[in-house]
Symmetry: C2
Subunit: 205 residues, 2 copies
DNA sequence: GTCTATAATACGATAGAC
DNA sequence: GTCTATCGTATTATAGAC
């Protein structure tokens, strides 16, 4: 077969690659890249270690594939911020969607947190290529809203950082959060309320 | 020599333990516990690997010693929150001190972030023993201020989480922050301004 | 495609000379 | 106290049968 024309993956290939990536998400997000082992991933996926390496070129290949696959859905809430909408509503909805993601996709959150915390050695290009343009675009949008007087003077870049930080905190530092809150109430509802009040206060003209 | 009476460490012992802990802070904070190696720590400290193990019982001993040594100074800003002071001033000062720490002690911030991100497997008891009582005490203080009507209704626990999240973000995710901001301005001044405005808006009665 | 067996290396820790 | 040399194990990756 001539090079450059990758064979179409069979049904079974797709299913196994999916199983491996899901297992890898579980293991990498809990232990980080170096702390994760192929043995753990293989056990979690229900496959043998050499079989894992039949589908991927190595540990790093799995990790990089995982990060780029998840990048798009991870950025969805920011993409959804609508230039036609009401500024305050759009931003508060974004906060809410990010907080929901921290609850529904904590593994993805910790996977990215682990990678960025260690200097993004394996995902730097993806960040420059996908995240940076989107970030710049949405910062320009917020700045535009400010210039129109529809938002008070604020720093778009640091506003977005604060949204990321406060929402992802509940996924990334979950062990500390649950220790400090105790096991009683559902933290999500109270966190949602708190963040809504905080960012609303900041966005009032 | 009878047990239970540890020999007083000599000057050279103190100095070498200090060099090792400083090197370990550098390496652990950048690569996490599993990602760090004794070879790296030894090279950074300018000592041989067996010499490292002469001063500490093993890799884990170094890590735990480091975490408990740093815990106190890491919590200093929260301790300094003064019940006698003006509520808004005290909280805004706390934000400022935490942000200064993210700038001045980014390695310490990343060390704790790495540990907590992975479920605090080696520092859980320290958190329960030192952090939890302090956290509860300061939450009660904020709740008291709210009950007095000196602060608007707010959730003390989640307020503190938001302060931690937003300030530590600049140290823990520095690689992403610097990528997105570009290399131009000093981020610290603008971050300080932004966080001051944000939390002030939330604290207005 | 999947497995068992194994190679190759990285790493934490120890032995023993000085 | 400090070093060189080395052990034992964990871990990534490959060989080769089926």
């Amino acid at each position: 077969m001539p090079d450059g024309a990758p064979k179409k993956p069979s049904r079974i290939q797709k299913r196994n690659r999916g199983k491996i990536l899901d297992a890898a998400l579980e293991v990498f997000s809990r232990h980080g890249f170096r702390g994760a082992t192929l043995d753990q991933i293989a056990a979690e996926a229900g496959l043998s270690k050499p079989n894992i390496l039949y589908y991927f070129d190595g540990k790093e290949d799995i990790h990089v594939t995982l990060l780029s696959r998840l990048m798009d859905s991870w950025l969805d809430p920011l993409v959804a911020m609508n230039p036609e909408g009401d500024p305050t509503t759009e931003i508060l909805s974004y906060v809410q969607r990010k907080l929901d993601m921290a609850r529904d996709m904590p593994r993805e959150s910790r996977l990215f947190a682990n990678e960025i915390l260690q200097g993004a050695p394996r995902i730097g290009p993806e960040l420059s290529g996908h995240l940076k343009p989107l970030f710049d675009e949405k910062c320009a949008l917020v700045a535009h809203w400010v210039a129109q007087g529809r938002l008070p003077p604020l720093d778009p870049q640091h506003l977005i950082f604060s949204i990321w930080a406060t929402t992802q905190h509940y996924a990334d530092f979950e062990s500390q959060v649950s220790l400090l809150l105790g096991a009683d109430a559902d933290p999500h509802a109270r966190a949602s309320d708190h963040l809504n009040r905080m960012f609303r206060a900041m966005l009032e003209v």
